[in-house]
């Protein structure tokens, strides 16, 4: 809980709900007759309406990117290190929009909501959503907010993939695209990790084929395992060594399966606390959306052709110790952009935090963001 709100915080934030009665045809072939998106905004839209920025969230993220919902909230929004007055995404200069993706479990329509057709919760009947679908819904949110063009669409990891999809699908609707710690599509190893996570959930007896709500239970063990596995892939070997080493919780070996090493304690804590805030069906859908992301697929597997549609200028950032989406994966994006003759800036940030580095206030990383944002502000919509 913040004793008092820090001066560089966006402060107390109230999420808002946008209702869309217009049906959406999803990539998977299903149609959702209506849906809602929960979102937050920080800063003010200027009179020229050219200072709006869309923040896209990652796998387990949500709309609450900055500030506090109440004085009782223990931690601020997930990207509070970068969003606020005087921060890289300066709310004194920019109007920032952050929404929860369709299929989410934080207020946007998702599997834990009631299906109007059946009167039951969607559960496993919620249609598969893709990055492209999210971009379509975010585009509708943009119009709902009276914005014609984003100064930038910004995201890390799965959020970066949404930013790339934006640049391809709505070339005129954004001037800059930030793809941070992202990849042009998942590798077999990435999909492999996602599949293990899904199997952990699907094989939990409490999952009940996705209808666990009706059984008044949640697949705790499965979701916890999925998160524990995910967490290992978000950290680097070095970061785990530095943070935990082989340190023992009780100072000695117990020769049992209870927590012995600190790293076990940490992972179990991450797993159990995740269960309390995340929906298992949403986790399944989000990992699938990651697996399906492949913007080149619509262009004969030619990423250059896909990116040739883009008009935005790109900022691509990778982190040296990120092995989930390594700098080489960002390099593929950069290379395709150069081949497509698109404007691109690429920074490779020295960091030992692994994939999670994109959320950290690393000096060089934030300096690059600041410099780029200053340039965006300078250019305005004229560029």
């Amino acid at each position: 809980m913040p004793e008092q709100i820090p001066a560089d915080s966006v402060g107390l934030i109230e999420p808002r709900q946008a209702v869309f009665e217009e049906p959406i045809d999803l990539v998977c072939g299903h149609t959702l007759p209506r849906y809602e998106l929960v979102y937050e905004t920080y800063g003010q839209l200027n009179s020229r309406r050219d200072n709006a920025i869309l923040i896209c969230h990652a796998l387990s993220g949500h709309h609450h990117a900055a500030g506090y919902h109440s004085m009782d909230e223990r931690k601020p929004g997930w990207w509070d290190s970068a969003i606020g007055p005087g921060k890289p995404f300066d709310t004194n200069r920019f109007f920032i929009v952050s929404s929860n993706n369709l299929g989410g479990c934080n207020g946007s329509t998702g599997p834990s909501d009631l299906n109007p057709e059946t009167g039951r919760r969607y559960g496993p009947d919620f249609p598969f959503v893709t990055v492209k679908d999210w971009v379509t819904t975010q585009h509708r949110l943009m119009r709902h907010l009276g914005i014609d063009q984003w100064a930038a669409v910004i995201g890390g990891s799965l959020g970066g993939m949404q930013a790339i999809q934006w640049a391809i699908d709505y070339p005129d609707a954004l001037r800059h695209c930030f793809a941070i710690a992202a990849a042009p599509r998942l590798s077999a190893q990435n999909i492999g990790f996602n599949e293990v996570a899904r199997q952990a959930i699907l094989s939990d007896p409490e999952f009940h084929g996705g209808h666990f709500y009706e059984h008044d239970t949640v697949p705790r063990r499965g979701l916890m395992l999925a998160r524990m596995l995910g967490h290992i892939t978000y950290l680097s070997d070095d970061a785990m060594r530095a943070k935990f080493g082989r340190e023992l919780k009780q100072g000695r070996l117990g020769y049992g399966f209870d927590v012995e090493f600190q790293v076990e304690s940490y992972l179990r804590y991450q797993g159990t606390s995740f269960v309390d805030r995340f929906d298992a069906n949403t986790y399944l859908l989000m990992t699938k959306a990651l697996d399906y992301f492949d913007p080149a697929a619509e262009f004969n597997d030619n990423l250059v052709a896909a990116l040739r549609r883009a008009q935005a200028k790109f900022l691509v950032i990778a982190f040296t110790s990120d092995w989930r989406f390594s700098p080489a994966r960002s390099g593929e994006i950069v290379q395709a952009l150069v081949d497509a003759r698109r404007a691109v800036t690429y920074a490779e940030v020295e960091a030992n935090h692994g994939h999670d580095a994109f959320l950290m206030p690393i000096t060089y990383y934030h300096e690059v963001l600041r410099a780029y944002m200053a340039r965006i502000e300078q250019e305005g919509a004229a560029a």
């Binding site: 691109v344 800036t345 920074a347 490779e348 060089y364 780029y372």
Partner: protein, 200 residues
Amino acid sequence: MSIRPDIALIKKWIKPHSRVLDLGCGDGTLLQLLRDELQVEGYGLEIDPENIIQCVHNGVNVIQQDLDQGLNNFHDQAFDYVIMTQTLQAVNFPDRLLQEMLRVGHEGIVTIPNFAYWKNRLQIGLAGHMPVSRHLPAAWYETENIHLCTLNDFEDLCRKLNIRIQERLVVDYAHRDQPVIRYFPNILGEIALYRCTRNL
């Protein structure tokens, strides 16, 4: 603000609306000028974070990349010009990079400090010390310039690599093209600018 003299000289060799790759682009000054004055579509490669931040400020397309890792990520003949100003002497494999330049670019533009400049010769020949000068300011143990060469050395290497020198400008520190330098370029010239292509 007056533009850097070497940049002014290089600019004369670049056609408007061309595609340029600048290896070791520093703060992006050259690319910025080529973009603003010649509508050049350019990318710079740079390794130093401070320089990259400056490039971002200047709105220059900069890609953080170590030149010692090569240019594998760029296609053959992807650029009209590949430029390397005062960078060749600081890389691990100047010969390989030179060949890579002309694989990726139609023309290469290279500037090098001339190690055989008379003041350098004096420092070695008479004083018996590695030269320290306006253009080579660092002491031997901390210099980034690990592959210094003379004009003759560079031109020998070009011959060996089957690289044709299309044009050469040898200038003094202020990048003045003094007539006297033309007689004894490898002694009086402080900096050389080359425009080269592959010998087909």
